[in-house]
């Protein structure tokens, strides 16, 4: 029997939770069909998280492509179908792969599993980021290099800790409802071991003390704890936090059953959410908003 999972019309980090709620009662080996026929829009987080979801299923899931031509065409340009075809049984009209030509796709969906992938991602993002961050988002030119550093460190979390490959995507778009400004978003999602399991080998963890996904996220994000004993470790996330803080951005990381967020004044998110539907690995979302006046 196949269970149909409805993909919401607008798919982002918040609405992706409705997919996970639908999946929660099912065992990983149950066949599911992700029905995206009525989807109209997806953020980079939504697209990469759907690929990760497919990786978590023991039984190869099915996928129904969006009916709206414009939506399907955009997902194709973002290279979603290129990777979805290897992970899902595809149904509906799947557009042929196209090159990402739109200026708002800063980095189409790109697999990350090794150090060389991070070099490629960083190399590809820099020239385009310079133009878009400075001209369209009014960010200080100094923000561009920091943006590439942030992207590099976020991708390295997969290489160093996940234990399996994941995906990264970067896109700018107008966040009309939530902010009324343009934003650039980095989504880095994997279905690896997640923060809790990664940190379980860290020194000093005593048996019997409270230990769960939320605490693991707090250790890693707030206290810069790493599973490695080397004092120089744990700087990647600390660097991301500094960058996000400097440019009034938002950092949100979901892992297992918890999600932690560094919330700027323009957002009403909660800093920590627990008891979410379980989802393996780690899903990182970084949002940098347009500056209302040039610096």
């Amino acid at each position: 029997m196949t269970t149909v999972i409805n993909v919401p019309p607008s798919l982002d980090d918040r609405t992706f939770e409705t997919i996970l709620q639908q999946l929660a009662p099912l065992s990983p080996d149950e066949k599911v069909l992700l029905d995206a026929r009525h989807a109209r829009w997806a953020s980079p987080y939504g697209l990469t998280a759907m690929l990760v979801l497919a990786q978590t299923r023991a039984e190869r899931p099915a996928f129904y492509a969006p009916e709206a031509e414009e939506t399907a065409s955009y997902w194709a340009r973002a290279q979603f179908f290129r990777y979805a075809e290897g992970l899902f049984e595809m149904h509906g009209s799947v557009p042929r792969p196209r090159a990402a030509t739109e200026s708002d796709v800063l980095l189409e969906i790109t697999p990350v599993s090794k150090s060389e992938d991070v070099h490629e991602v960083v190399g590809r993002i820099q020239s385009k980021a310079q133009a878009i961050l400075a001209k369209e988002l009014n960010l200080d030119p100094r923000a561009t290099m920091g943006f590439a550093m942030t992207l590099s460190e976020a991708c390295q979390n997969i290489v160093e800790h996940a234990g399996r490959g994941g995906w990264v995507a970067v896109q700018t778009y107008r966040w009309q409802k939530r902010l009324g400004r343009r934003v650039v978003q980095i989504a880095v999602c994997d279905a690896g071991v997640g923060f809790r399991q990664s940190l379980e080998s860290a020194q000093g963890r005593r048996g019997g003390e409270r230990w769960d996904d939320a605490m693991a996220l707090e250790d890693a994000v707030i206290r810069s704890v790493s599973r490695f004993r080397d004092a120089g470790r744990g700087q990647g996330l600390a660097g991301i936090r500094r960058y996000v803080g400097r440019w009034d951005g938002k950092l949100s990381i979901r892992s297992g059953t918890a999600r932690i967020a560094i919330v700027p004044s323009w957002d009403e998110d909660v800093p920590l959410e627990e008891q979410l539907p379980p989802f393996p690995g780690a899903q990182v979302l970084i949002t940098i908003p347009e500056r209302s006046t040039p610096r």
Partner: protein
């Protein structure tokens, strides 16, 4: 003896001849190994200029692998004292960093602060900069040595406004941290030359 190491060249030789960005820990570890091989061939006392001019991006992980771990091997961190059990550096090696952009500086300063290290960099205007973890007394003493060119404890005592034994102690600490070089009875700032 002065060594010049172009990091862009080391990166292309040791990792990939298409890369210009110093990102990821494996890349940083490979570049550091390349630098250490060059240092192993050097004389006992050397000043090595690490040149970032041809480096695009430097991320935190790579800065830690290259800059911080190199300094950990050769220089004393803040707060360490003689007899602390620290292994002696393999040779009397000093480093001067040049071609460091503002974005490189962000990553370098973060990793130095994390490990309690400091280094001397030469800015585009040829001015020497002290970056990382140093206390106020050390910074004032280093600035005085840099200003004077060559200094003895009595000079620093006058410049900084401390007693001579304290000036001597500050200079000894800066010397152990490889931020100034000792020549006979005097000291010169790294990068200022004897």
């Amino acid at each position: 003896m002065i060594n010049h190491i172009d990091l862009g060249t080391v990166l292309r030789k040791t990792v990939c001849d298409l890369y210009s960005d110093l990102v990821t820990r494996p890349t940083g570890a490979a570049v550091r190994t390349g630098i250490e091989q060059q240092l192993a061939e050097a004389q006992d006392r050397t000043l090595t200029v690490i040149d970032f001019t041809h480096v695009g991006l430097l991320d935190f992980s790579c800065a830690d692998e290259i800059v911080a771990k190199l300094l950990v091997s050769y220089c004393e961190p803040a707060g360490d004292r003689p007899g602390s059990g620290r292994v002696a550096p393999p040779r009397d090696c000093y480093f001067l960093f040049k071609g460091v952009s503002d974005s490189h500086l962000d990553a370098i300063d973060a990793v130095l602060q994390r490990r309690g290290l400091a280094l001397v960099a030469k800015g585009d205007d040829e001015r020497l900069l002290l970056i990382g973890t140093v206390d106020e007394g050390e910074r004032r003493a280093w600035e005085a040595v840099t200003r004077l060119g060559r200094a003895v404890p009595a000079d620093i005592a006058t410049e900084v406004g401390v007693e001579e034994p304290q000036a001597e102690s500050l200079l000894a600490t800066l010397s152990r941290r490889r931020l100034i070089m000792r020549f006979d009875e005097g000291y010169v700032a790294v990068g200022a030359g004897p």
